[in-house]
């Protein structure tokens, strides 16, 4: 199965990482080769006056197929070509074609990168009632629309419950790690933010939401947690029994996997749950703007959103759609704990090179238990003297 989060990466070029890097690149090459046959989907137009529509996307073909098929059924005059790309390749390709874009529509879950493209002015406004009515928290201007709703979740093995209460929130995970650190040694797995773009994005969002994130990183480090670069690898390890608890996995993949692997259970953290959204935009100077607008209108329409909620694990955003797999449902269950990653210029900070280095350094120090620096390298090295205790 093709996993786009695999490829979200910006590598630091420190020499001691090179070995690790080589391994990752090898895995990457193999996966790309394996999924090569599924890289493009094509739907020919039935009508005489056909117009083409080119989509660059980072959505798995099995997930995107029902959407495209339904759109094609409703708009038989549009010939769709869907190119499934890897996030950074998509980003690079869009930048490369900035003056003469080939894609009409671009969809990607790599929110900072997608936002950067829109901020650069490579997107164009979609003027339609559906776009205007789209909830403001899930769009930026009339240009960038979050059309899916994918929480970041924790996964645990069901047999864990026999040993200890499974964590239901970040706080519970932290206390569990602190109390049972010896027992959980090498049994917890999470993203390596140094090698995974997705992991880095979640780390930066986690750190923004709570300062206690650094305690959690420290606890993860003390429990010798394992680090992976993809959700797939984590799920595999969990299924094989190597790991007991997985932290920060992409919900849409987990949901599929857990359905096939009953030994695993998915938890949407109760205290706060990051929510990832796939962002869709129409290219500036899109070669086929009418078809592009129709497609985006379709994505934001109730039928497409209902389809997303029922036939895929991507989740629906449309406020009128209720039921399992929708934003409305998650909000009803978790209320304020739902934290969709804000579509705004804050995402640009995520991409700042120095910011990235700063955060990763801080993360690494916390993980390696340089506990005095738990609050980050900027923390005051000489804390204020405490008031004498009675």
């Amino acid at each position: 199965m093709y996993r786009p989060d695999l490829f979200i990466r910006r590598l630091t070029t420190a020499p001691h990482h090179i070995r690790h890097l080589a391994g990752v690149l090898l895995a990457l090459t193999l996966l790309v080769a394996a999924s090569a046959q599924a890289r493009t989907l094509h739907f020919t137009a039935d009508a005489e006056s056909s117009q083409p529509l080119t989509i660059y996307g980072v959505v798995d073909p099995p997930q995107v197929y029902p959407l495209l098929a339904d759109f094609h059924r409703r708009n038989p005059d549009i010939a769709i070509t869907y190119h499934n790309l890897e996030t950074l390749a998509l980003h690079a390709r869009v930048l490369q074609e900035r003056d003469a874009p080939r894609a009409d529509v671009i969809m990607s879950p790599a929110m900072p990168w997608q936002y950067q493209l829109a901020n650069e002015g490579l997107s164009t406004p979609v003027d339609s009632p559906a776009a205007e009515a789209w909830p403001s928290w899930a769009r930026w201007r009339q240009e960038l629309f979050g059309f899916t709703f994918e929480p970041i979740v924790m996964v645990y093995r069901r047999d864990l419950a026999t040993r200890m209460p499974p964590p239901e929130s970040h706080a519970e995970l932290l206390s569990l790690l602190r109390q049972r650190s010896a027992e959980l040694s090498h049994r917890v797995v999470t993203y390596d933010p140094r090698f995974s773009g997705a992991g880095y994005t979640y780390a930066i969002e986690d750190a923004r939401i709570s300062a206690r994130y650094w305690d959690l990183v420290e606890a993860l480090g003390q429990a010798h947690s394992e680090l992976e670069t993809t959700t797939a690898a984590m799920l595999e390890g969990l299924s094989e029994g190597r790991y007991w608890i997985g932290y920060n996995l992409i919900g849409s993949y987990v949901q599929d996997y857990v359905a096939e692997h009953p030994e695993l259970a998915m938890v949407v953290p109760k205290d706060y749950a990051l929510v990832l959204q796939r962002l869709v935009m129409m290219s500036r100077n899109a070669p086929h703007p009418v078809a592009a607008q129709r497609f985006i209108d379709y994505l934001l329409s109730a039928p497409a959103q209902r389809l997303l909620a029922t036939q895929t694990t991507l989740g629906a955003v449309h406020p009128a759609i209720d039921g399992l797999g929708t934003a409305a449902d998650l909000r009803k269950r978790l209320g304020e704990a739902i934290r969709p990653v804000q579509i705004g210029p804050g995402l640009l900070a995520t991409l700042d090179t120095l910011k990235r280095q700063t955060l990763l350094e801080q993360w690494q120090q916390a993980f390696k238990n340089h506990s005095t620096h738990a609050d980050g390298p900027l923390a005051d090295p000489s804390p204020l003297p405490r008031a004498p205790q009675k």
Partner: protein, 464 residues
């Protein structure tokens, strides 16, 4: 030419003229106010939004430090979010070191010239075809060991400013339009009120009986009161003219009635006789009276013609010498029979003057006739040059100085004897007035009380 003339201001009604002079400056004023409001709202919007650039760049600058032997920055996402505002602006930032090298950022941004006494400078730039508002903060590291200078450059798109500027401008626009509307209403009303007395005056004039020349009596503002006064003066003059005309007509009919009554009486007396000799005598008398009456009627006719103000004489160059000779030649035999010595005294060359030929001849004939009628035995027509002058000199009883002006009035006779009609000098005077010729009367021999004689001169202006 025709449409131009139609639009000339002098053809416009007073009301339109007022409108043009009041509304054009008002429109200009409104235009200036709108322009000013537009600039002010732009500036206000820029000022408001520049604060955000200021705050964002300060909050970024606070995070700049020296680390790993280079400029380092932990970009605060809130700084960028601050810039995005409600208008969801596109946001750009960049950090540059003291040498102007790009350290980090999401787009390379140009620098701006430093403003005096300010760390921050703002400017409008276009970056990759995108109009941006750029703020550049110049700062230096605060530390013990390093105090490197650096620049934080932040930029945002202009939509929010534009929206705010439009909003502010719209508010001013509404105000200005309301004020302008009120001003227009006030101008229209005040022009109507100001012109109302004029309308009253017009109505008053229109409603008058066309026969009446009585003065206008109605209260008017000062400017129109002057007009009313002028109008009343004109009316007064017309009244005088009419009185003169009535008197003239009365005199004329009286003058004509007397000889006609004489004729009738004479004919009646003669008819009672049966002696042809008496008839003959009566016929001779009647002939004389009829001739005199015919002459009188002729003079009345020419006087009426001359007094018609609408008939301006067509002037041409007239040779005074030739004119004098011709008149004397025509009148000579008649005068000779009466025993009057008529002569010409003129230079050999032509003396030219601008005048109407037949009117001048009429005047000269009248003068000659007058002189002989009032008892002169010697009449000389004299023409002199520089200035051109035509004079009739006689040796008659003359006119006393006190009587001379009265003599110019119709039907005024210096003496009751003689056969004159009393119109001769009046005709000459009218011709002189019409030609702008100076008419002068003076005695020829003032030291001779019995027969001082009279010299009547017509002096043309020399430039004519």
């Amino acid at each position: 030419m025709t449409p131009l003339r139609r639009w000339r201001l002098s053809h416009l009604s007073l009301y339109r003229r007022l409108m043009v002079w009041l509304l054009c400056p008002l429109a200009l004023l409104v235009a200036v106010m709108l322009l000013q409001a537009w600039l002010a709202s732009r500036e206000a919007a820029d000022r408001a939004f520049d604060r955000l650039l200021d705050a964002a760049s300060l909050s970024i600058a606070e995070q700049v430090r020296w680390q790993q032997s280079r400029l380092w920055m932990d970009l605060p996402p809130s700084a960028l979010e601050m810039l995005a505002t409600d208008a969801e602006e596109r946001v750009f930032y960049a950090l540059y070191d003291a040498h102007g090298h790009f350290v980090t950022g999401n787009r390379s941004l140009p620098t701006l010239p430093a403003e005096n006494g300010s760390q921050m400078s703002y400017g409008d730039v276009t970056s990759r075809g995108m109009p941006l508002r750029l703020g550049v903060l110049r700062a230096r590291l605060e530390g013990w060991d390093r105090s490197d200078r650096f620049e934080v450059r932040v930029a945002q798109t202009r939509e929010g400013r534009q929206a705010l500027a439009n909003q502010l401008f719209l508010a001013s626009l509404v105000n200005i339009v309301i004020i302008a509307g009120l001003a227009v209403v006030v101008v229209l009303l005040s022009a109507r009120f100001a012109l109302e007395p004029l309308t009253r005056l017009r109505r008053a004039i229109r409603q008058r009986n066309p026969r009446t020349l009585a003065p206008l009596e109605l209260p008017l503002p000062r400017e129109l009161a002057e007009l009313r006064q002028t109008l009343n003066e004109l009316l007064a003059r017309m009244r005088r003219v009419r009185a003169n005309q009535e008197r003239f007509i009365g005199d004329a009919s009286h003058q004509l009635k007397t000889p006609l009554a004489g004729l009738s009486t004479r004919a009646e007396l003669a008819l009672r006789q049966s002696d042809p000799a008496t008839w003959r005598e009566a016929l001779a008398t009647m002939h004389g009276t009829a001739t005199k009456t015919a002459r009188l009627a002729g003079q009345l006719l020419s006087l009426t013609r001359l007094n018609n103000p609408e008939a301006t004489p067509a002037k041409q160059a007239v040779d005074l010498t030739a004119l004098a000779r011709r008149c004397v030649r025509e009148a000579f035999s008649r005068h000779h029979r009466r025993g009057v010595d008529l002569g010409v005294e003129a230079p050999e060359h032509a003396v030219m003057a601008s005048a109407n030929d037949w009117q001048l001849e009429e005047a000269l004939n009248n003068l000659i006739e007058n002189a002989s009628l009032y008892g002169a035995s010697q009449v000389t027509v004299q023409v002199t040059d520089t200035p051109p002058r035509l004079a009739v000199i006689d040796d008659g009883p003359g006119i006393p100085e006190s009587q001379r002006l009265l003599m110019l009035r119709p039907f005024h006779r210096g003496q009751e004897t003689g056969d004159g009609s009393g119109l001769g000098l009046a005709i000459v005077d009218s011709i002189a007035r019409a030609h702008d010729i100076r008419l002068s009367l003076q005695a020829v021999h003032p030291d001779h009380p019995e027969r001082p004689g009279l010299c009547i001169a017509l002096t043309f202006s020399s430039d004519a």
